[in-house]
Amino acid sequence: MNEDIKFEELLKQLDDVVKSLESGDLSLDESIKQYQKGIELSNKCRQKLETAKEVVVKKMDD
Protein backbone atom coordinates (compact mmCIF):
# COMPACT_ATOMS: atom_id res chain seq x y z
CA MET A 1 0.00 0.00 0.00
CA ASN A 2 1.25 3.43 -0.86
CA GLU A 3 2.85 5.29 2.11
CA ASP A 4 1.90 8.67 0.73
CA ILE A 5 -1.84 8.15 0.91
CA LYS A 6 -3.32 10.63 3.33
CA PHE A 7 -4.90 9.35 6.51
CA GLU A 8 -8.25 10.77 5.50
CA GLU A 9 -8.10 8.92 2.18
CA LEU A 10 -7.21 5.67 3.96
CA LEU A 11 -10.08 6.19 6.36
CA LYS A 12 -12.43 6.86 3.45
CA GLN A 13 -11.24 3.75 1.65
CA LEU A 14 -11.81 1.74 4.82
CA ASP A 15 -15.30 3.17 5.08
CA ASP A 16 -15.98 2.35 1.43
CA VAL A 17 -14.79 -1.20 1.90
CA VAL A 18 -17.04 -1.68 4.92
CA LYS A 19 -19.97 -0.17 3.01
CA SER A 20 -19.40 -2.36 -0.02
CA LEU A 21 -19.26 -5.41 2.24
CA GLU A 22 -22.43 -4.29 3.99
CA SER A 23 -24.26 -3.83 0.71
CA GLY A 24 -24.14 -7.58 0.23
CA ASP A 25 -23.84 -7.27 -3.52
CA LEU A 26 -20.42 -8.82 -3.65
CA SER A 27 -19.58 -12.38 -4.48
CA LEU A 28 -18.00 -14.39 -1.70
CA ASP A 29 -14.61 -14.28 -3.42
CA GLU A 30 -14.85 -10.53 -3.84
CA SER A 31 -16.04 -10.18 -0.24
CA ILE A 32 -13.00 -11.99 1.06
CA LYS A 33 -10.78 -9.80 -1.10
CA GLN A 34 -12.51 -6.68 0.24
CA TYR A 35 -12.28 -7.98 3.78
CA GLN A 36 -8.54 -8.48 3.48
CA LYS A 37 -8.20 -5.01 1.99
CA GLY A 38 -10.26 -3.59 4.85
CA ILE A 39 -8.11 -5.23 7.50
CA GLU A 40 -5.00 -3.91 5.77
CA LEU A 41 -6.49 -0.44 5.64
CA SER A 42 -7.54 -0.41 9.26
CA ASN A 43 -4.13 -1.65 10.36
CA LYS A 44 -2.55 1.00 8.19
CA CYS A 45 -4.72 3.74 9.71
CA ARG A 46 -4.00 2.59 13.22
CA GLN A 47 -0.31 2.31 12.51
CA LYS A 48 -0.23 5.81 11.06
CA LEU A 49 -1.89 7.24 14.14
CA GLU A 50 0.16 5.30 16.62
CA THR A 51 3.55 5.84 15.06
CA ALA A 52 3.16 9.59 14.60
CA LYS A 53 4.54 11.01 17.82
CA GLU A 54 4.37 14.76 17.47
CA VAL A 55 3.17 17.20 14.92
CA VAL A 56 5.69 18.80 12.65
CA VAL A 57 5.84 22.48 13.51
CA LYS A 58 7.24 24.86 10.94
CA LYS A 59 7.74 28.55 11.47
CA MET A 60 6.48 30.53 8.51
CA ASP A 61 7.80 34.04 9.08
CA ASP A 62 9.94 35.64 6.44
Binding site: L11, Y35, V55
Partner: protein
Protein backbone atom coordinates in the same frame (compact mmCIF):
# COMPACT_ATOMS: atom_id res chain seq x y z
CA UNK B 1 29.75 44.61 53.43
CA UNK B 2 27.30 44.36 56.19
CA UNK B 3 23.97 42.68 55.46
CA UNK B 4 22.21 44.43 58.27
CA UNK B 5 20.48 47.02 56.10
CA UNK B 6 18.92 44.38 53.81
CA UNK B 7 15.47 43.17 54.69
CA UNK B 8 13.38 40.30 53.34
CA UNK B 9 10.55 40.68 50.81
CA UNK B 10 8.20 39.37 53.45
CA UNK B 11 9.28 42.11 55.79
CA UNK B 12 8.71 44.77 53.11
CA UNK B 13 5.31 43.41 52.15
CA UNK B 14 4.34 43.17 55.80
CA UNK B 15 5.36 46.79 56.27
CA UNK B 16 3.33 47.87 53.23
CA UNK B 17 0.39 45.86 54.49
CA UNK B 18 0.63 47.66 57.78
CA UNK B 19 0.88 51.03 55.99
CA UNK B 20 -2.21 50.34 53.86
CA UNK B 21 -4.11 48.86 56.74
CA UNK B 22 -3.61 51.81 58.99
CA UNK B 23 -4.16 54.50 56.33
CA UNK B 24 -7.54 56.03 56.99
CA UNK B 25 -7.92 57.18 53.37
CA UNK B 26 -7.66 53.57 52.18
CA UNK B 27 -10.03 52.13 54.78
CA UNK B 28 -13.12 53.27 52.89
CA UNK B 29 -12.65 54.18 49.23
CA UNK B 30 -15.38 55.24 46.81
CA UNK B 31 -14.69 54.63 43.12
CA UNK B 32 -16.53 55.17 39.84
CA UNK B 33 -15.02 52.81 37.32
CA UNK B 34 -15.58 50.44 34.41
CA UNK B 35 -15.59 46.73 35.15
CA UNK B 36 -13.44 44.38 33.08
CA UNK B 37 -11.99 40.91 33.15
CA UNK B 38 -14.58 39.47 35.48
CA UNK B 39 -13.86 35.92 36.62
CA UNK B 40 -15.09 33.76 39.43
CA UNK B 41 -13.01 31.36 41.46
CA UNK B 42 -13.65 29.51 44.71
CA UNK B 43 -16.32 31.83 46.06
CA UNK B 44 -14.52 35.03 45.13
CA UNK B 45 -15.23 37.30 42.19
CA UNK B 46 -12.10 38.81 40.69
CA UNK B 47 -12.25 41.74 38.30
CA UNK B 48 -10.54 44.93 37.30
CA UNK B 49 -11.83 48.43 37.90
CA UNK B 50 -10.50 50.92 35.41
CA UNK B 51 -10.77 54.18 33.59
CA UNK B 52 -9.05 55.34 30.38
CA UNK B 53 -5.62 55.48 31.98
CA UNK B 54 -5.48 53.15 34.94
CA UNK B 55 -6.81 50.02 36.57
CA UNK B 56 -6.90 48.32 39.95
CA UNK B 57 -7.58 44.72 40.84
CA UNK B 58 -10.77 44.17 42.77
CA UNK B 59 -12.20 41.24 44.70
CA UNK B 60 -15.68 40.63 45.98
CA UNK B 61 -16.95 37.79 48.13
CA UNK B 62 -19.85 35.73 46.89
CA UNK B 63 -21.88 36.55 50.01
CA UNK B 64 -22.07 40.15 48.74
CA UNK B 65 -22.43 39.05 45.12
CA UNK B 66 -25.54 37.06 45.98
CA UNK B 67 -27.23 40.22 47.27
CA UNK B 68 -26.74 42.15 44.00
CA UNK B 69 -29.74 42.69 41.73
CA UNK B 70 -27.54 42.53 38.60
CA UNK B 71 -24.83 40.32 37.11
CA UNK B 72 -21.44 41.93 37.09
CA UNK B 73 -20.24 42.07 33.49
CA UNK B 74 -17.30 43.39 31.54
CA UNK B 75 -17.85 46.93 30.35
CA UNK B 76 -20.22 47.95 33.12
CA UNK B 77 -19.70 51.25 34.86
CA UNK B 78 -20.12 50.87 38.59
CA UNK B 79 -20.01 52.79 41.83
CA UNK B 80 -17.90 50.91 44.29
CA UNK B 81 -17.18 51.15 47.98
CA UNK B 82 -14.31 49.16 49.43
CA UNK B 83 -11.07 48.92 51.37
CA UNK B 84 -7.68 48.87 49.70
CA UNK B 85 -5.29 46.29 51.04
CA UNK B 86 -2.00 44.55 50.23
CA UNK B 87 -1.72 40.89 49.33
CA UNK B 88 1.57 40.15 50.99
CA UNK B 89 2.30 36.90 49.21
CA UNK B 90 2.46 38.62 45.82
CA UNK B 91 3.10 42.17 46.82
CA UNK B 92 0.03 43.38 45.03
CA UNK B 93 -2.72 45.56 46.23
CA UNK B 94 -6.39 45.44 45.45
CA UNK B 95 -9.69 46.84 46.53
CA UNK B 96 -11.92 44.58 48.56
CA UNK B 97 -15.37 45.61 47.43
CA UNK B 98 -17.96 45.93 50.18
CA UNK B 99 -20.67 47.61 48.11
CA UNK B 100 -21.32 48.01 44.41
CA UNK B 101 -23.92 49.72 42.24
CA UNK B 102 -24.43 49.64 38.49
CA UNK B 103 -24.27 52.95 36.61
CA UNK B 104 -24.06 52.02 32.99
CA UNK B 105 -22.01 50.28 30.35
CA UNK B 106 -18.46 51.37 29.59
CA UNK B 107 -17.46 53.12 26.38
CA UNK B 108 -15.24 50.32 25.07
CA UNK B 109 -17.99 47.85 25.71
CA UNK B 110 -20.53 50.05 23.98
CA UNK B 111 -18.26 50.30 20.96
CA UNK B 112 -17.90 46.55 20.96
CA UNK B 113 -21.66 46.12 21.05
CA UNK B 114 -22.15 48.64 18.25
CA UNK B 115 -19.61 46.95 15.98
CA UNK B 116 -21.06 43.58 16.77
CA UNK B 117 -24.51 44.82 15.91
CA UNK B 118 -23.35 46.41 12.66
CA UNK B 119 -21.45 43.35 11.45
CA UNK B 120 -24.31 41.07 12.45
CA UNK B 121 -26.67 43.17 10.34
CA UNK B 122 -24.28 42.89 7.41
CA UNK B 123 -24.46 39.14 7.80
CA UNK B 124 -20.83 38.55 8.76
CA UNK B 125 -21.84 36.18 11.54
CA UNK B 126 -24.26 34.21 9.42
CA UNK B 127 -23.70 30.60 10.35
CA UNK B 128 -25.12 29.39 7.07
CA UNK B 129 -22.39 30.91 4.95
CA UNK B 130 -19.54 29.95 7.23
CA UNK B 131 -16.94 27.59 5.85
CA UNK B 132 -16.95 24.13 7.33
CA UNK B 133 -13.79 22.79 8.89
CA UNK B 134 -11.91 19.91 7.32
CA UNK B 135 -12.50 16.76 9.30
CA UNK B 136 -8.93 15.59 8.84
CA UNK B 137 -6.75 18.67 8.29
CA UNK B 138 -3.35 18.20 6.71
CA UNK B 139 -1.75 21.55 7.47
CA UNK B 140 -2.93 23.91 10.17
CA UNK B 141 -1.94 27.56 10.09
CA UNK B 142 -1.41 28.79 13.61
CA UNK B 143 -1.59 32.55 13.90
CA UNK B 144 -0.49 33.62 17.37
CA UNK B 145 2.44 35.03 19.24
CA UNK B 146 5.60 33.03 18.54
CA UNK B 147 6.47 33.09 22.23
CA UNK B 148 3.22 32.75 24.15
CA UNK B 149 1.76 29.85 26.08
CA UNK B 150 -1.09 29.76 23.57
CA UNK B 151 1.25 28.44 20.88
CA UNK B 152 2.55 25.67 23.14
CA UNK B 153 -0.95 24.79 24.31
CA UNK B 154 -2.15 24.45 20.71
CA UNK B 155 0.84 22.43 19.55
CA UNK B 156 0.83 20.05 22.50
CA UNK B 157 -2.92 19.56 22.24
CA UNK B 158 -2.70 18.83 18.52
CA UNK B 159 0.24 16.49 19.13
CA UNK B 160 -1.81 14.51 21.56
CA UNK B 161 -4.93 14.45 19.44
CA UNK B 162 -3.85 14.21 15.84
CA UNK B 163 -0.11 13.98 15.27
CA UNK B 164 -0.60 13.34 11.55
CA UNK B 165 -1.08 17.04 10.89
CA UNK B 166 1.55 19.68 10.28
CA UNK B 167 1.34 22.95 12.19
CA UNK B 168 2.61 25.98 10.32
CA UNK B 169 3.24 28.80 12.71
CA UNK B 170 2.54 32.27 11.32
CA UNK B 171 3.77 34.51 14.13
CA UNK B 172 1.75 37.64 14.79
CA UNK B 173 1.49 40.34 17.39
CA UNK B 174 -1.65 39.57 19.38
CA UNK B 175 -1.79 42.49 21.77
CA UNK B 176 -1.78 46.22 21.34
CA UNK B 177 -2.44 48.68 18.54
CA UNK B 178 -0.32 46.90 15.92
CA UNK B 179 -1.96 43.54 16.60
CA UNK B 180 -4.90 43.77 14.13
CA UNK B 181 -2.62 44.65 11.20
CA UNK B 182 -0.15 41.94 12.20
CA UNK B 183 -2.86 39.29 12.33
CA UNK B 184 -4.28 40.49 8.99
CA UNK B 185 -0.82 40.17 7.41
CA UNK B 186 -0.49 36.65 8.77
CA UNK B 187 -3.88 35.69 7.32
CA UNK B 188 -2.83 37.14 3.96
CA UNK B 189 0.39 35.17 4.07
CA UNK B 190 -1.46 31.95 4.84
CA UNK B 191 -3.53 32.52 1.71
CA UNK B 192 -0.46 33.40 -0.30
CA UNK B 193 1.37 30.24 0.77
CA UNK B 194 -1.71 28.19 0.01
CA UNK B 195 -0.59 25.20 2.07
CA UNK B 196 -3.03 25.15 4.96
CA UNK B 197 -6.56 23.91 5.05
CA UNK B 198 -7.55 25.57 8.31
CA UNK B 199 -6.43 28.62 10.27
CA UNK B 200 -6.30 28.93 14.06
CA UNK B 201 -6.19 32.52 15.32
CA UNK B 202 -5.56 32.56 19.02
CA UNK B 203 -4.00 34.13 22.06
CA UNK B 204 -4.03 33.30 25.72
CA UNK B 205 -6.09 34.92 28.41
CA UNK B 206 -5.74 38.53 29.34
CA UNK B 207 -7.75 41.53 30.29
CA UNK B 208 -10.54 42.70 28.08
CA UNK B 209 -8.19 45.45 26.92
CA UNK B 210 -5.53 42.89 26.02
CA UNK B 211 -8.02 41.11 23.85
CA UNK B 212 -9.51 44.23 22.34
CA UNK B 213 -7.41 43.96 19.18
CA UNK B 214 -9.64 41.03 18.26
CA UNK B 215 -12.53 43.47 18.15
CA UNK B 216 -10.99 45.29 15.20
CA UNK B 217 -13.40 45.86 12.33
CA UNK B 218 -10.86 45.48 9.54
CA UNK B 219 -9.56 42.21 11.03
CA UNK B 220 -13.14 40.98 11.34
CA UNK B 221 -13.68 41.64 7.61
CA UNK B 222 -10.46 39.89 6.63
CA UNK B 223 -11.48 36.86 8.68
CA UNK B 224 -14.92 36.99 7.08
CA UNK B 225 -13.37 37.05 3.60
CA UNK B 226 -10.91 34.26 4.35
CA UNK B 227 -11.12 31.45 1.79
CA UNK B 228 -9.73 29.07 4.38
CA UNK B 229 -11.90 28.13 7.35
CA UNK B 230 -10.91 29.93 10.54
CA UNK B 231 -11.06 29.01 14.21
CA UNK B 232 -10.76 31.70 16.85
CA UNK B 233 -9.59 30.84 20.32
CA UNK B 234 -9.08 34.09 22.15
CA UNK B 235 -8.68 34.46 25.88
CA UNK B 236 -10.77 32.46 28.30
CA UNK B 237 -14.13 30.76 28.14
CA UNK B 238 -15.98 33.92 29.18
CA UNK B 239 -14.26 36.21 26.70
CA UNK B 240 -16.10 37.00 23.50
CA UNK B 241 -14.56 39.05 20.71
CA UNK B 242 -15.76 40.11 17.27
CA UNK B 243 -13.21 37.63 15.94
CA UNK B 244 -15.07 34.86 17.71
CA UNK B 245 -18.34 35.78 16.04
CA UNK B 246 -16.96 36.13 12.54
CA UNK B 247 -14.67 33.10 12.50
CA UNK B 248 -15.93 29.85 10.98
CA UNK B 249 -15.83 28.39 14.49
CA UNK B 250 -15.37 29.92 17.91
CA UNK B 251 -13.36 28.05 20.50
CA UNK B 252 -13.26 29.14 24.14
CA UNK B 253 -9.45 29.01 24.43
CA UNK B 254 -6.38 28.26 22.31
CA UNK B 255 -6.47 24.69 23.58
CA UNK B 256 -10.15 24.59 22.65
CA UNK B 257 -9.25 25.79 19.16
CA UNK B 258 -6.78 22.93 18.80
CA UNK B 259 -9.54 20.54 19.85
CA UNK B 260 -11.99 22.01 17.35
CA UNK B 261 -9.39 21.85 14.58
CA UNK B 262 -8.47 18.21 14.95
CA UNK B 263 -10.08 14.83 15.34
CA UNK B 264 -9.05 12.89 18.43
CA UNK B 265 -6.66 10.01 17.99
CA UNK B 266 -8.50 8.02 20.66
CA UNK B 267 -11.80 8.49 18.84
CA UNK B 268 -10.15 7.60 15.55
CA UNK B 269 -8.60 4.46 16.94
CA UNK B 270 -11.98 3.52 18.34
CA UNK B 271 -13.54 4.27 14.97
CA UNK B 272 -10.96 2.12 13.22
CA UNK B 273 -11.59 -0.66 15.73
CA UNK B 274 -15.31 -0.38 15.10
CA UNK B 275 -14.72 -0.59 11.37
CA UNK B 276 -12.57 -3.64 11.86
CA UNK B 277 -15.25 -5.22 14.00
CA UNK B 278 -17.75 -4.41 11.27
CA UNK B 279 -15.45 -5.94 8.71
CA UNK B 280 -15.10 -9.12 10.70
CA UNK B 281 -18.82 -9.24 11.39
CA UNK B 282 -19.62 -8.70 7.74
CA UNK B 283 -17.29 -11.34 6.43
CA UNK B 284 -18.47 -13.70 9.14
CA UNK B 285 -22.06 -13.16 8.05
CA UNK B 286 -21.03 -13.62 4.45
CA UNK B 287 -19.32 -16.86 5.27
CA UNK B 288 -22.24 -18.05 7.38
CA UNK B 289 -24.59 -17.09 4.54
CA UNK B 290 -22.38 -18.88 2.09
CA UNK B 291 -22.23 -21.94 4.32
CA UNK B 292 -25.99 -21.92 4.81
CA UNK B 293 -26.51 -21.71 1.08
CA UNK B 294 -24.07 -24.51 0.56
CA UNK B 295 -25.79 -26.54 3.29
CA UNK B 296 -29.17 -25.84 1.80
CA UNK B 297 -27.97 -27.00 -1.57
CA UNK B 298 -26.08 -29.98 -0.25
CA UNK B 299 -29.12 -30.96 1.79
CA UNK B 300 -31.42 -30.51 -1.16
CA UNK B 301 -33.43 -33.55 -2.26
CA UNK B 302 -31.75 -33.67 -5.59
CA UNK B 303 -28.27 -33.99 -4.06
CA UNK B 304 -29.02 -36.19 -1.09
CA UNK B 305 -31.14 -38.51 -3.23
CA UNK B 306 -28.93 -38.20 -6.22
CA UNK B 307 -29.25 -41.92 -7.02
CA UNK B 308 -32.97 -41.48 -7.25
CA UNK B 309 -32.49 -39.32 -10.27
CA UNK B 310 -31.28 -42.34 -12.12
CA UNK B 311 -33.87 -44.78 -10.85
CA UNK B 312 -36.35 -44.26 -13.69
CA UNK B 313 -33.57 -44.50 -16.21
CA UNK B 314 -32.20 -47.58 -14.56
CA UNK B 315 -35.62 -49.19 -14.60
CA UNK B 316 -36.10 -48.34 -18.22
CA UNK B 317 -32.68 -49.63 -19.06
CA UNK B 318 -33.20 -52.89 -17.28
CA UNK B 319 -36.55 -53.29 -18.98
CA UNK B 320 -34.95 -52.73 -22.34
CA UNK B 321 -32.18 -55.13 -21.41
CA UNK B 322 -34.72 -57.82 -20.70
CA UNK B 323 -36.53 -57.18 -23.92
CA UNK B 324 -33.29 -57.12 -25.81
CA UNK B 325 -32.37 -60.45 -24.31
CA UNK B 326 -35.72 -61.87 -25.29
CA UNK B 327 -35.37 -60.51 -28.75
CA UNK B 328 -31.80 -61.67 -29.12
CA UNK B 329 -30.95 -64.09 -31.99
CA UNK B 330 -29.13 -66.37 -29.51
CA UNK B 331 -32.30 -68.33 -28.96
CA UNK B 332 -32.67 -68.87 -32.61
CA UNK B 333 -29.01 -69.68 -32.88
CA UNK B 334 -29.43 -72.16 -30.06
CA UNK B 335 -32.48 -73.62 -31.74
CA UNK B 336 -30.67 -73.94 -35.01
CA UNK B 337 -27.68 -75.39 -33.20
CA UNK B 338 -29.83 -78.08 -31.74
CA UNK B 339 -31.33 -78.89 -35.07
CA UNK B 340 -27.91 -78.90 -36.59
CA UNK B 341 -26.68 -81.36 -33.97
CA UNK B 342 -29.57 -83.65 -34.67
CA UNK B 343 -28.87 -83.42 -38.37
CA UNK B 344 -25.21 -84.08 -37.73
CA UNK B 345 -26.01 -87.16 -35.69
CA UNK B 346 -28.33 -88.40 -38.41
CA UNK B 347 -25.73 -87.66 -41.03
CA UNK B 348 -23.12 -89.53 -39.05
CA UNK B 349 -25.39 -92.49 -38.74
CA UNK B 350 -26.02 -92.54 -42.45
CA UNK B 351 -22.37 -92.15 -43.17
CA UNK B 352 -21.37 -94.91 -40.82
CA UNK B 353 -23.99 -97.15 -42.37
CA UNK B 354 -22.66 -96.25 -45.74
CA UNK B 355 -19.16 -97.16 -44.66
CA UNK B 356 -20.33 -100.43 -43.18
CA UNK B 357 -22.07 -101.30 -46.39
CA UNK B 358 -18.94 -100.47 -48.33
CA UNK B 359 -16.89 -102.57 -45.96
CA UNK B 360 -19.24 -105.49 -46.33
CA UNK B 361 -19.20 -105.34 -50.08
CA UNK B 362 -15.43 -105.01 -49.96
CA UNK B 363 -15.18 -108.07 -47.78
CA UNK B 364 -17.34 -110.06 -50.14
CA UNK B 365 -15.25 -109.01 -53.06
CA UNK B 366 -12.12 -109.78 -51.11
CA UNK B 367 -13.34 -113.24 -50.41
CA UNK B 368 -14.07 -113.66 -54.06
CA UNK B 369 -10.67 -112.34 -54.81
CA UNK B 370 -9.08 -114.67 -52.38
CA UNK B 371 -10.89 -117.56 -53.99
CA UNK B 372 -9.82 -116.42 -57.39
CA UNK B 373 -6.21 -115.63 -56.37
CA UNK B 374 -3.56 -117.58 -58.30
CA UNK B 375 -1.92 -118.37 -55.02
CA UNK B 376 -5.06 -120.00 -53.89
CA UNK B 377 -5.18 -121.97 -57.14
CA UNK B 378 -1.51 -122.79 -56.84
CA UNK B 379 -2.08 -124.17 -53.37
CA UNK B 380 -4.30 -126.69 -55.08
CA UNK B 381 -1.40 -127.75 -57.17
CA UNK B 382 -1.36 -125.35 -60.02
CA UNK B 383 1.72 -123.38 -60.95
CA UNK B 384 2.78 -120.56 -63.28
CA UNK B 385 5.60 -120.83 -65.70
CA UNK B 386 7.60 -117.91 -67.01
CA UNK B 387 10.24 -117.54 -69.63
CA UNK B 388 12.10 -114.26 -69.50
CA UNK B 389 9.44 -112.92 -67.10
CA UNK B 390 6.74 -113.77 -69.62
CA UNK B 391 3.95 -116.07 -68.55
CA UNK B 392 3.82 -119.09 -70.76
CA UNK B 393 0.29 -120.01 -71.64
CA UNK B 394 0.83 -121.55 -75.08
CA UNK B 395 3.39 -123.94 -76.51
CA UNK B 396 4.19 -121.43 -79.17
CA UNK B 397 5.46 -119.03 -76.53
CA UNK B 398 8.22 -121.43 -75.49
CA UNK B 399 11.84 -120.92 -76.53
CA UNK B 400 13.52 -124.29 -76.04
CA UNK B 401 16.87 -122.75 -75.45
CA UNK B 402 15.81 -120.69 -72.52
CA UNK B 403 15.38 -121.91 -68.98
CA UNK B 404 11.83 -122.14 -67.70
CA UNK B 405 10.94 -120.52 -64.38
CA UNK B 406 8.06 -122.19 -62.60
CA UNK B 407 6.47 -120.51 -59.64
CA UNK B 408 4.90 -122.84 -57.12
CA UNK B 409 2.96 -121.88 -54.07
CA UNK B 410 6.03 -122.04 -51.85
CA UNK B 411 8.94 -121.41 -54.26
CA UNK B 412 10.47 -121.37 -57.74
CA UNK B 413 11.72 -124.20 -59.94
CA UNK B 414 14.16 -123.71 -62.83
CA UNK B 415 13.99 -126.35 -65.60
CA UNK B 416 15.23 -127.14 -69.09
CA UNK B 417 12.98 -127.79 -72.01
CA UNK B 418 13.45 -131.29 -73.23
CA UNK B 419 10.65 -131.53 -75.64
CA UNK B 420 7.60 -129.67 -76.79
CA UNK B 421 4.60 -131.64 -77.84
CA UNK B 422 1.32 -129.92 -78.63
CA UNK B 423 -2.00 -131.57 -77.78
CA UNK B 424 -4.47 -132.73 -80.35
CA UNK B 425 -7.49 -130.74 -80.67
Amino acid sequence: MSNDKYISVSALNKYLYYKFDTDLNLKVVYLKAEVSNVRFSKGILYFVLKDENAGISAIMYSSLMDKLDFELEDGMTVLVQGKVGVYTRRGTYSINVTNIEQVGLGVAYLQFLQLKDKLAKEGLFNEKIKLSLPKYPNNIALITSGSGDAMHDVISTISKRYPLVNVLLYPAIVQGDSAPKSVINAIDKVHLDGICDVIIICRGGGSIEDLSCFNDEELARVIYNSLIPTISGVGHEADFTICDFVASRRAPTPTGAAVVATPDKVDLLRYIDEKQVELVRNIKNKLIDGYNKYKQLSDSYILTNFRNVFTPYEERLSNLDKRLLMASPNKKIDDYGEKLTIEMIALNKVYIQFLKNKENSFKKNLDKLIILSPLNIMSKGYSVTFQMDKVITKIDDIDSNVLLTTKLVDGIVMSKVISVDGEKK
